[in-house]
């Protein structure tokens, strides 16, 4: 019940495309859903996060869509650039983020 599932495992898009990464969770106690970006040799960095009281959040080129009834959320990257090539992790937590559960990651490649 603590697991967060993420798909696809890898994704290749052309520059300007809109990659979509999907996550699903089981634990209804989760109340905070962040997305992280990780480059090789670096720690994850927060991109955008959402709480279950809203269905969508947009920050710059990044948008989270959240479906509470389906227990699913997704990341959309608009106008993707080669510099967006990285591994993306969804995560979930409860108790205001004191115990994070991460998905297995999606390796995104944006071709020039």
């Amino acid at each position: 019940q603590q697991q967060v599932k993420q798909s696809p495992q890898s994704l290749i898009v052309q520059k300007g495309g809109i990659p979509i990464i999907n996550c699903a969770y089981e634990n209804t106690a989760f109340d905070y859903f962040p997305w992280y970006q990780q480059f090789p040799g670096k720690g994850p960095a927060l991109l955008i996060a959402i709480r279950p009281d809203v269905s969508e959040k947009k920050e710059g080129r990044f948008t989270i869509s959240f479906n509470k009834s389906a227990k699913q959320f997704s990341l959309h990257i608009m106008d993707s650039q080669p510099g967006d090539s990285a591994t993306y992790f969804c995560a979930a937590s409860n108790n205001y983020g004191q115990n994070f559960v991460f998905g297995p990651g999606t390796r995104l490649s944006v071709l020039p």
């Binding site: 720690g43 983020g97 297995p104």
Partner: protein, 113 residues
């Protein structure tokens, strides 16, 4: 410092050796987390501190793993009698308060031979 720092960045240990991994959080950050990240996987929660208090250690995989933060700033993750399955990147993250964004360090890559 500008961010979370970890040392060493790379550590090679022979099976059975003890290792100590250090995390320097962002100054003033109250919360500190340790994660283990296996190759090609997402980070897995190990333990959480608020100031010097270890509030959650449910993710520590065995009693060979021990973490401390005695003065509420620098933290050390110690692994005793290392095993090959301990090979991973160990990430530290800090947060200003009990809520909000976690800032991750670059990690320590531990290889047990």
């Amino acid at each position: 410092g500008a961010g979370v720092s970890q040392s060493p960045r790379y550590k090679v240990a022979k099976r059975g050796q003890d290792v100590a991994l250090r995390c320097d959080p962002i100054s003033g950050h109250v919360s500190l987390f340790w994660y283990q990240q296996a190759l090609g996987q997402g980070p897995e929660f190990l333990t959480y501190f608020q100031n010097e208090a270890q509030l959650d250690k449910s993710g520590l995989p065995s009693d060979r793993f021990f973490a401390e933060r005695p003065e509420g700033s620098v933290s050390t993750l110690k692994i005793q009698r290392t095993q090959q399955e301990d090979s991973a990147v160990y990430l530290c993250a800090s947060r200003w308060t009990g809520t909000g964004e976690q800032y991750f360090g670059p990690g320590t890559r531990l290889t047990v031979t």
